[in-house]
Symmetry: C2
Subunit: 470 residues, 2 copies
């Protein structure tokens, strides 16, 4: 049976300011309503005989993963939380151990969470072509037939044909220079290394044990110490940290005798930058990709993305990337967007927050958005998911006013527990022990006005927390 | 005695999105903390023997004018409200009648409210040079010695010298084409028509009566029907509307035998576009004028202005204008900013609001900012000035929650009148008659959460209003 495994790694700063440390590329809705992660899950779920997909992600992203899975109503094959990032070889090993536990014969389809595939039929037929060699014990990688001489990807050269449309790997090559890339494309036997794989879980573990035994040993030890928590699988940090950090390519694919490649042309993109998003998107007659409330006058070849409740007007500008969010706007020349990292580095070095979080912050119980702030006050819009609850908590320096604007909240304030409906308010005095809970079936939305001398997120004492944060 | 007259006309869309219909260029702080209007008032007040300045402005802008006058603590010589715009000849006639009432011998220095003068000493010495001819009955205009062959201004050619540094006007010329402008600049006897004048009020009225008697008659009739209201002089609309609409140049200066010009070079600019603001401002080593929270990487020659609580990052872009506000951002090529009008026209034709108001709206009693909005709620930050009060009012479709975050408010809610201090809240039920007043000496700042099925500004019944709006 086919077990899709979605790797949600990477902290993606290349799409800043839309991507942030706590909300990387795979969780963004870049084209259409769904995120790349959601599209990847859905694509996997539509494959024949596909089991519920397994996700491997950073511990930090567990609630975002849970929420996005829930958002598309898909059954989950489990969410494995990496306590720390160790690259793809250990991550895939965790997933292999996880699926082998359920199905000793499991076939794994490994897919990065942040890739775009426009032609799903071609992708499916590639998976079909890969099946026979994978069934015979080959580790099959998918090689993207190159459209142009990209220097930012590694290439795979194919060797002899195994079955129709599937080949031995002749060799893996590093990111080439421009002339070499041109030669590869002209030559015809090279494909881009996409990071997608099909193989039996047991075969991957075998080959990993042969070529990178330290990784296998560490991952096995970590996996043996796992703790299950609803849909989440947690791992002991020290044991996982003991694994060398390495990619599947270096650790296994380049070393095994049984590497195969299935070339495919399926409208693939890793959306590695704003310019590649522009390149794959449908654009208007002036070559603009305008998303949101945009007025464009005498402007061509731009990517313009407006934030909620805001408009962007462009006048006489060409080949720019303009991306707006609640707290930061990027204006860049389209052929310079690979240097967005320079801006993120500047933010880091200045100790700022705009590369870490959006103004709207996701929490296990929902989200909050800091909509206004003054010298001694802050206003937040808070959304609590059905069934969710904030921790039982108190603050040393602020009082809070809560006004429910939709749904019904259950409020605990010291000894009292009461309901607060739309258009009702309450006051949480400084120092009182309080909790906000949504016992209903619709989201609760409320406006919180904080008043006090210090309003930092760290002024919180958590007395009880259903998410283990107290 | 010298009576400065500041003309605050013009609805200024050329600096959109910072300038809006209800907050044109003269009221903006473009360079430094004070607005061009405030700088003009202060410059006038520093002239020898200057009386408190008289302002002529649109009725719509009266509270902004009052607040900006108050903000610099300057005594006012009166604020004349034009019920409708009729160009400069009638506006200056109103001011002339106003100052002649107080001082029959009054000398008027007419200044547009939205010009920048960097070299105040040169300006003062020009006013001194103009004094003698004005005293003898000449109507003196100030001609700016051109720095370059601008085609966007009218020019004045000087004739024979009257006294040192003051000349008869030989002729006024319309905006020239580029070659003609070059010739004017090379020739040396031409100056830009700045729209600043010095003359006796009585002499202006005489010459107006001679060359444009219909204007004088209509303005006199309107002025005779004036109503005084604190510092404001209001005029009957129909009478003022009866005046032909014409500029002082066409109506008087080009016709009188007694037109003089005083050439001056005083770092003058009318800041007619974002590019001219960039041109006059001090820029960094890369030629950028960065205002607010801006991170600039490999970018040169830009004007970048970030809004409150927001940052802008530029990467590899040159010669752009990027202006951010709470609800709209402009990105334009610097040499195309004269076409900002095209965007404003688009907003008009689409029935939008972004050319009319900022998200933050000024009212006689203070201001409000719509900081968040949802399907059935809206959140505003409201500031009430000391001594000010909102109207006694009620709403048919919304209830309101008020939380004071600084200052002390006096609240009327049906039969109750009570004080609300920082960190206190109250609830205004749907349909109840309420008022918010600031009886203290510090501004009151409060957060209002509106809840209801319809949240438009027009759901208001005003029962009493100190500003005559009920």
């Amino acid at each position: 049976m086919l077990h899709p495994v979605v790797l949600s790694g990477g902290s993606g700063t290349r799409l800043w300011p839309l991507s942030r440390h706590n909300q990387p590329k795979q969780f963004l809705s870049l084209l259409g309503d769904r995120s790349l992660f959601q599209e990847t899950l859905l694509r996997a779920s539509r494959l024949p005989d596909a089991q519920p997909p397994v996700t491997v992600c950073a511990d930090d992203h567990r609630f975002m993963v849970g929420e996005q899975l829930h958002g598309i109503g898909l059954a989950s094959g489990g969410i494995i939380l990496e306590p720390v990032a160790r690259n793809t070889a250990p991550a895939i090993a965790l997933a292999a151990l996880h699926v082998v536990d359920r199905d000793s014969d499991a076939m794994m389809l490994v897919m990065p969470a942040d890739h775009l595939i426009e032609d799903e039929a071609s992708f499916r037929s590639a998976v079909e072509r890969a099946w026979a060699p994978a069934d015979e014990g080959w580790l099959v990688t998918f090689g993207i037939t190159p459209d142009y001489a990209e220097t930012g990807y590694g290439y795979i050269r194919r060797g002899g044909e195994l079955v129709t449309g599937a080949y031995r790997v002749s060799r893996f090559v590093e990111k080439p220079d421009a002339a070499t890339a041109e030669r590869y494309v002209a030559e015809g036997s090279y494909a881009w290394n996409s990071g997608m794989f099909l193989f039996r879980a047991s075969r991957y573990l075998e080959e990993l044990g042969r070529h990178a035994p330290a990784i296998l040993a560490a991952v096995q030890k970590a996996y043996a110490g796992k703790m299950s928590d609803l849909d989440f699988t947690r791992l002991p940090k020290d044991e996982f940290l003991a694994s060398p950090s390495d990619s599947i390519d270096y650790a296994v694919m380049e070393k095994t005798e049984r590497a195969a490649v299935v070339p495919v042309s399926c409208g693939w993109s890793d959306i590695g930058s704003w310019s590649s998003l522009w390149a794959v998107a449908e654009r208007d007659g002036d070559g603009n990709l305008n998303q949101g409330d945009v007025i464009s006058v005498d402007s061509t070849g731009n990517l313009v993305r407006a934030a909620d409740r805001r408009m962007i007007a462009t006048l006489g500008v060409d080949d720019l990337v303009i991306v707006d969010t609640a707290d930061a706007t990027l204006v860049a020349r389209k052929d310079r967007v690979q240097d967005v990292k320079k801006i993120v580095d500047r933010l880091k070095s200045e100790g700022r927050q705009e590369h870490l979080f959006h103004r709207k912050v996701y929490r296990p119980w929902g989200n909050y958005d800091s909509i206004d702030m003054g010298e001694r006050f802050q206003v937040k819009r808070i959304v609590v998911k059905p069934g969710a609850a904030l921790s039982l908590q108190k603050h040393a320096h602020r009082a809070e006013h809560w006004i429910v604007v939709s749904g019904t909240a259950e409020v605990t304030c010291d000894d009292r527990v009461f309901e607060l409906r739309e258009n009702e308010s309450t006051y949480i005095p400084l120092g009182s022990v309080h909790r906000l809970r949504n016992t209903g079936t619709e989201p609760v939305e409320l406006i919180e006005v904080q008043s006090g001398s210090y309003l930092g997120e760290d002024d919180i004492v958590r007395l009880e927390d259903v998410y283990g944060r107290s």
